[in-house]
Symmetry: C2
Subunit: 363 residues, 2 copies
């Protein structure tokens, strides 16, 4: 088992990465000195696979867990489902010392984390991410929230988990498409922070795709360590943390205009990162060979690297990007790269250049 520490003063916590961790959940929660009552929030797809093991582990450690099962998919990140969770918590008499376990992918973590952040003005929560994407990205760092009809993650909070438990065994049952989507965030860490890690991914991609346990363990732990490092320097995204949004400006826009239905998040930001790399070449002199290495690695990972939009879709994309949280004084801001491993946030990109790059990646 590997341990990654997230250092945020009194909000510090540990990320555990390894096999067979679900059965350790109860024991690890007991170390946190929380109340006995807790809620396990999961979704309809994850519940049949892992809920029994999680409930058993919690009960074995003396906890009294309530199981709350929400629909699976991005549509569960809604105020309606938030209200259903509140009502279930109130009915079960959860108290200030109670805690919430998020068992699932990014959607469940974001939703359950937001409910935990706001129920009784905030109760503790524990992340048990069951997808690669959630393990390397959304479960770490305390960003929680839900979508509005107007856009993704427009409502939320910063609420750090008390523990993140990444059980690599659960990745064995992950559908291929979801596993590949997780690689969209994995590759991002190489681009924004760690050129040697990017090279490692280029070399070991086949072993990763074969879900080799040793390689996965190293990769997941390295991603968590990079994220922990960035978040430790800028918890609430006043600056540096924005680098984690590489490829997300166009990526979130694509998700919004397809009503969160067509692309998985990791797929949308794969296209977004290829686009951002072209923009980086045009504006910050990113070497052409780096742009090609980025495109190539996403392609080899089986992720989309191009998109064809109608004029109406393109207009909708610009509208969606203007509503993004990253907009400042009406201007859409991008994260761009000088080279693989070296990025700059807060970059302005004129609309005509965005149009140029959308032409460029029509495929």
């Amino acid at each position: 088992m590997r341990t990654v520490q997230v250092s945020l003063a009194e909000r510090s916590y540990r990320i555990l990465v390894g096999g067979g961790l679900l059965s350790r959940l109860g024991k690890e929660c007991a170390r946190l000195k929380l109340g006995r009552r807790c809620a396990v929030v999961t979704d309809e797809k994850v519940a049949p696979l892992h809920a029994a093991a999680v409930l058993e582990s919690l009960k074995g450690a003396g906890f009294e867990p309530l199981l709350v099962t929400v629909p699976s998919g991005e549509t569960a990140k809604s105020l309606k489902v938030v209200a259903q969770c509140y009502d279930a918590f109130a009915k079960a008499r959860l108290e200030r010392k109670s805690f919430v376990v998020a068992l699932g992918g990014g959607v469940v973590g974001d939703l359950a984390g937001f409910v935990a952040a706001t129920y009784l003005r905030g109760v503790a929560f524990v992340q048990v991410p069951t997808t690669l994407l959630a393990q390397v990205d959304s479960s770490v760092g305390g960003k929680v929230g839900v979508n509005l009809p107007a856009g993704k993650n427009l409502v939320g909070a910063f609420h750090q988990p008390r523990l993140v438990l990444c059980d690599l065994d659960v990745l064995k049952t992950l559908p291929d498409r979801e596993f590949r989507a997780g690689l969209g965030e994995v590759i991002k860490y190489g681009i924004i922070y760690d050129a040697p890690f990017f090279r490692r991914l280029e070399k070991s991609l086949d072993r990763i795709l074969a879900r080799d346990p040793a390689e996965l363990s190293a990769v997941v732990a390295r991603c968590c360590a990079i994220k922990a490092d960035v978040v430790g320097q800028d918890e609430t995204e006043s600056g540096l943390r924005a680098v984690l949004n590489y490829g997300h400006t166009i990526g979130h826009g694509l998700e919004a205009i397809s009503a969160y239905g067509k692309y998985l998040h990791g797929e949308a930001i794969s296209i977004g990162q290829v686009a951002a790399s072209h923009l980086s070449a045009a504006l910050l002199g990113m070497p052409a060979q780096d742009v090609e290495r980025v495109r190539e690695l996403f392609f080899r990972a089986g992720l989309p690297v191009c998109v064809k939009l109608s004029p109406a879709q393109r207009k909708a994309l610009f509208d969606a990007m203007r509503l993004d949280k990253k907009v400042s004084a009406g201007e859409i801001k991008f994260v761009l790269a000088r080279a693989i491993g070296q990025v700059e946030f807060g970059q302005s990109v004129p609309d005509d250049l965005v149009n140029w790059v959308l032409d460029r990646i029509e495929g």
Copy 2:
């Protein structure tokens, strides 16, 4: 104008107390270095009285305010109205640097503050309380939230305002019943923290009821200073801050079982404080003459000091109290007083003693 400082490190802010302050709002907001776009959240009763002055002041200082008017009354503190505010903010393209002005009583402040705490994971907000109760209590300290069908303030956050502006002129138009309800919190500060202030209230109550500007200014500023002092020592209610809940255990219960319709908050906690004082005499030896002085002052202020409950209502009251946020390990906790000016939080009270006090205050 009097200034009270709330000291919370980087979340510190000023409370301004005085006449004619609405017209200074724009200038004071300009000092905070926020974005140009903002939202003024108010209710249907307050809007016709004060919205024009507030919008004019903001526009005069270069801001672009959006007016959001919600229904008046406790029912506006609902997830439904929260969602309506989010949608209005998104439609007006409010950004991370935008801010929210809460113009109204405690309901508007709690609601708008919660929306500000969660929209885009938190934007700045400014409190412009227009009731005595909001000026001395709910606008200070950062507790924001809304109600669930299951209970009051079960959803919320700690989100400190950047500025609180208590314009005493707005109290002139306050209906008598609401003004008196505000005194329910004013008197509380004397009981929990400041025996000389309690004596002052006993002497100057007639001038206060006549809304004498000089006396009101001193009283509002002293209440804010006490609250600032308590909140500065315990921002998130891990201990001391609980003393502010004197009379609130039974008070919140009474509000809940009457579906927030029969009593104003200040009225419910008036009954609750009389009850808490009787319990204090029984459990902590509060002198009988102090109990009588408490009852007498609430009575002179025109506030209710007794309540008659049917057996069914009494059972509902216990159920509501058990759902309160102050419950720990299933036990209802009270704040009790050793004497006027000296309280202890986290006191357990057996159910039969609660029944005894409910008999005692049947009137």
